[in-house]
């Protein structure tokens, strides 16, 4: 009797949040159109980021045939996965989570907390950077190019890739969210946010390059390895079922943890506007 009620309430909540997300997207799009120049600058910034990643590996592969256990074509696919997930992050989360500490400092968070919706959802998705959808197109183009370079692409593996990209995105969300909300405890903690960027660097390299102990850490405790490496493995390597199972199971676990952590941080929060 209890399970159907929980499922129904979960479904209602999801539907409500989805329609809210659509509304937020529309509002953000209209607001973005006011500053059309920002569309271009934002995409150009990310193109530089993509270029930095691509050039690094292209130059390194001029001097070595393999890094980790992937060759250049396989590494290009890995970068494609990374770019797609990063583009999703830039579109839906970056504007909200990167500027979270600023919201706390200026007292803007209080307004969000007062709204009659899930507060974690609201602080995570309030602003959608519609300009970054351009990045998603670029990332998809790169991915298509990279997949085309693979000599033995199996269609079933593309299915796994499509399924695992949301897993990578969810993992990215949870880790970034937890780093952002630390600002509720340390109000002026800009540099703590820089730790996030350093850790994200670990996820921006194939996990196969790491020592076994470090690989274990990036796939479990600090799961940045789940962001791009695991979806890329799905298409490049023979299926690793225990790893895929863990990747799927980790999503509800990490999201539950992020919610607990959010509530803990809120309990330590002293309103900046009070």
């Amino acid at each position: 009797m209890g399970a159907p009620i929980i499922l129904k309430s979960f479904w209602t909540e999801t539907k409500k949040n989805f329609s809210l997300l659509v509304g937020l997207f529309k509002a953000s799009f209209i607001s973005d159109l006011e500053f059309r120049f920002n569309f271009a600058t934002r995409i150009i910034t990310d193109i530089f980021w993509y270029l930095a990643q691509v050039v690094t590996f292209e130059v390194l592969f001029l001097h070595t045939p393999i890094i980790g256990h992937w060759n250049i074509n396989q590494t290009r696919v890995f970068l494609g996965v990374l770019f797609i997930i990063d583009a999703l992050y830039m579109t839906f989360l970056a504007d909200n989570l990167d500027k979270f500490s600023e919201k706390v400092r200026r007292g803007e968070l209080d307004l969000l907390l007062m709204k009659p919706v899930n507060s974690q959802f609201m602080v995570s998705f309030q602003r959608v950077a519609t300009a970054s959808l351009g990045n998603l197109i670029i990332a998809l183009m790169w991915m298509t190019y990279a997949l085309y370079q693979l000599p033995d692409l199996h269609p079933l593996r593309i299915f796994w890739l499509i399924v695992l990209i949301p897993v990578g995105f969810s993992t990215l969300y949870v880790v970034r969210f937890c780093f952002s909300v630390v600002s509720l405890i340390f109000v002026r903690g800009e540099n703590i946010q820089f730790i996030w960027f350093q850790l994200y660097k670990l996820g921006m390299r194939p996990d196969s390059i790491y020592f076994p102990w470090l690989r274990y850490i990036v796939l479990t405790i600090l799961p940045v390895g789940l962001i791009a490496s695991v979806p890329a493995r799905a298409i490049l390597d023979p299926p690793n079922w225990p790893l895929f199972l863990w990747a799927f199971a980790s999503v509800p676990i990490f999201i539950w943890f992020s919610n607990r952590f959010w509530k803990y941080c809120l309990s330590k929060y002293n309103s900046a506007s009070s």
């Binding site: 530089f48 130059v59 001097h63 890094i67 540099n191 850790l199």
Partner: protein
């Protein structure tokens, strides 16, 4: 300096935790590259040379990159709160230069031991006696870094969301300074072009000289290119600032 010590968590993260994590990431990457290559030498240098480069490059890149102060400068201009600075005996440029240099000095002193200790522990080829002269070049390059920050902050008189310029510039510098990989690994035509720019003084020239990848003759050219860069950037910055102030209306802060 005192204001930097006020926010201790921030400071510990910036001076200690961040460099440690970055060091691990970069060293592990280069170890994997050599494992994959199955060779002892890439581009004429052994694994130890690359580890030494990665170790010191990440350390120096943190000094020669400006995010925080550039964002603050942009915010001040964007929000119209520079009034209080305009009436001080110090100019906006000088005020933030002193802030930035103070911060860089403190974090450098506190984190310098990390690459030294790791380098000695791993027995990497580093000429520690060259540290004073490479810091001289880095210090000189910081003036260029700050001048670029100043130039970008003046854009805020004319445009909104100038933060993206900072991100774009710093991402480009990621490549052009040699932070991501030694410039000598680039194909020849690219390498010559990048070496002619002042940005290599941010990482490649000092660390190349410190680790013995380049000679004194190449290293010293950094002072010339930075001087040229300083002249160009400061002239542009001055003109845009002067024009911008005419358009500026303060918020009364």
């Amino acid at each position: 300096m005192i204001s930097n010590l006020e926010y201790r968590i921030n400071f510990i993260v910036d001076a200690l935790i961040q460099p440690c994590i970055t060091t691990v990431v970069e060293i592990v990457l280069w170890m994997a590259i050599f494992r994959g290559a199955g060779t002892d030498m890439i581009g004429g240098f052994t694994r130890e040379y690359y580890l030494a480069y990665a170790l010191w490059a990440t350390f120096v890149a943190r000094i020669s990159t400006s995010w925080l102060y550039e964002f603050r400068m942009i915010e001040e201009v964007e929000q119209g709160t520079i009034n209080s600075l305009l009436v001080r005996p110090l100019s906006f440029y000088e005020y933030y230069l002193s802030q930035m240099l103070g911060y860089k000095f403190v974090t450098t002193i506190f984190s310098l031991w990390i690459p030294i200790v790791v380098g000695i522990y791993l027995d990497l080829p580093v000429h520690l006696d060259r540290l004073p002269i490479i810091f001289l070049l880095i210090g000189y390059y910081l003036f260029l870094v700050h001048s670029m920050s100043f130039l970008i902050s003046t854009f805020a008189f004319y445009l909104n969301k100038v933060n993206y310029f900072t991100s774009t510039k710093n991402l480009a510098l990621w490549l052009l300074t040699g932070e991501l990989f030694p410039i000598d690994l680039m194909p020849e035509a690219w390498r010559d072009f990048v070496l002619s720019l002042p940005f290599v003084s941010g990482v490649y020239l000092p660390i190349g000289y410190l680790t013995g990848r380049i000679g004194f003759g190449v290293f010293i050219q950094g002072f010339q290119t930075v001087t040229l860069g300083l002249i160009i950037v400061n002239v542009m910055g001055y003109l845009l600032w002067a024009q911008g102030l005419k358009k500026y209306s303060g918020t009364g802060a």
